[in-house]
């Protein structure tokens, strides 16, 4: 049953008065809303998104100054390059649009600070508040339902009712991987490109295969974040674009109650 039917039923109810003792609600789909995302999470989510978008595009601008990926300690060794993009990325993907390395670096290095500060604030928040433990840490029953969750995702079936109030296990694991794996890694590989930061423990970049390997890993990690973004936006689309986007802007998320589900 769909919410579009409510006004009609409502009219009928008004026309045929029922005994006041009967609970009229039970016959219809009911929904309730709740505060899904706290204000700090909402702010940090969008700051993170804006910073990553700018970092990606200015990063491609920087990449275009040397549109080659190498593996090893330097670009000029006996190892041939892994990738050569003769013309680099198109200008509609770069920030600024035209070739402008100096300005690309300014955008990139400024928003790198925003990303790191925002990320630090998020980590402090998520540990100090119930967010990490309550929302992101998989429970024992989550781990057991992992197979079912994979099947549900492949069939684009999403939890409804009370279950929709919680992140599913694949969602939790993906967020944890992005927040505590991919994002710190892309930052670390960015630091590896700094000749000054390489001196903190001389030779630490060799752990990642050397400085040019770190540049390649920085690039791969950035595109892995883009891949995450595509999956993330796809899941938002198929599980209710409006409801999801609203919940990340105002916090309010609408959940259909269980018995509405059962009335199908």
């Amino acid at each position: 049953m769909e919410t579009g039917d409510i006004p009609l039923d409502d009219g009928q109810l008004m026309a045929a008065p029922a005994p006041p003792s009967s609970p009229p609600a039970e016959a219809w789909p009911r929904s309730h809303s709740y505060q899904r995302h706290s204000l700090p999470v909402r702010i940090m989510h969008w700051v993170n998104f804006a910073a990553l978008a700018i970092l990606l595009m200015s990063g491609l601008q920087i990449f275009n100054a040397y549109p080659v990926l190498n593996w090893g300690r330097s670009s000029y060794s006996d190892t041939p390059p892994l990738l050569v993009l003769a013309h680099g990325f198109p200008s509609w993907l770069t920030l600024p649009g035209p070739r402008w390395l100096a300005m690309g670096r300014r955008w990139h290095l400024f928003f790198a600070w925003i990303l790191v500060m925002n990320g630090l604030a998020y980590v402090i928040y998520t540990v100090a508040s119930p967010h990490l433990r309550r929302d992101l840490t998989p429970t024992r029953s989550d781990w057991r339902s992992i197979g079912q969750s994979v099947i549900d995702h492949l069939r684009l079936r999403h939890p409804r009712g009370q279950a929709a109030r919680r992140y599913n296990v694949l969602q939790k694991l993906t967020y944890l991987f992005v927040i505590f794996g991919l994002l710190p890694f892309v930052v670390l590989m960015g630091w590896a490109l700094s000749p000054r930061l390489d001196t903190v423990i001389p030779g630490w970049v060799d752990f990642f295969g050397g400085r040019q390997s770190a540049r390649t890993l920085h690039f791969i990690a950035a595109w892995t974040l883009v891949a995450f973004l595509f999956v993330h936006v796809f899941e938002v689309l198929v599980s209710g674009l409006y409801n999801n986007v609203r919940s990340m802007i105002t916090g309010r998320y609408v959940v259909e109650d269980e018995h509405a589900d059962q009335s199908h």
């Binding site: 300690r73 000029y76 670096r105 600070w113 000749p195 390489d198 001196t199 540049r215």
Partner: protein
Amino acid sequence: MRIKATERSRRRFMLRMLASTGAALLAGCDAASRKSWLPNVLGVAERASRSAQRLVAPRAMAQEFTVADLSPQFRSNGTANPEDERYQGLAARQFVDWRLGVDGLVQHPLRLSLQQLRAMPKRTQITRHDCVEGWSAIGQWTGVPLSAVLQLAGPRPEARYVVFHCADPMDEQGTKYYESIDFDDTFHPQTILAYELNGAVLPIANGAPLRVRIERQLGYKMAKYIMRIELVSSFTHIGAGNGGYWEDLGYEWYAGI
């Protein structure tokens, strides 16, 4: 059915909004990049990076490599052969007439020949050269520590920066390359005035007769074809006042990342 249609039109509307907002924002970013306020705001990051990097890596040495890591050919970037009559004259006689001027805020201005520089304390290091463009190359450099030259000249107390004046013209006006560093890099043990690359006399393509190595910064700081070293208290009177040729074209003065 009705709700599905609503959801679909909402989707279309929101995606269109997103696309047009994105396009407008990008156009705005491009336009703002051409104004002066935006680069200044973004430039806050340069000062933050400099402070943070000096805090976490105050005096550490840059990684040194082995002969096995040497790049087969050390890439020449920027000027490969200065189009300057005086320089070409010096090069034709293997720089025997070349003198390194050391002046500005020093107690004893100097004019040093290559022979004199070679007779001074020397340091050899195999280091990685990180270009701002994203590539890197590993080379073996031999030269005299910049600190040794400055000890001879005796910096005056008000000196804060070292400016390198070079022989290579960079544009139609004949602006010659210039760069500057502060004393944090000047007195770093790996900061040398190199006259040898990979065990041979420094080639013209890599900055003969003398180039500086500043191993904790990017390649554009490492001026080639050095003619004169000037100690200053401020570099506002040099070029457009940002401390270097590329800095005057929008690159960071502190190139630690």
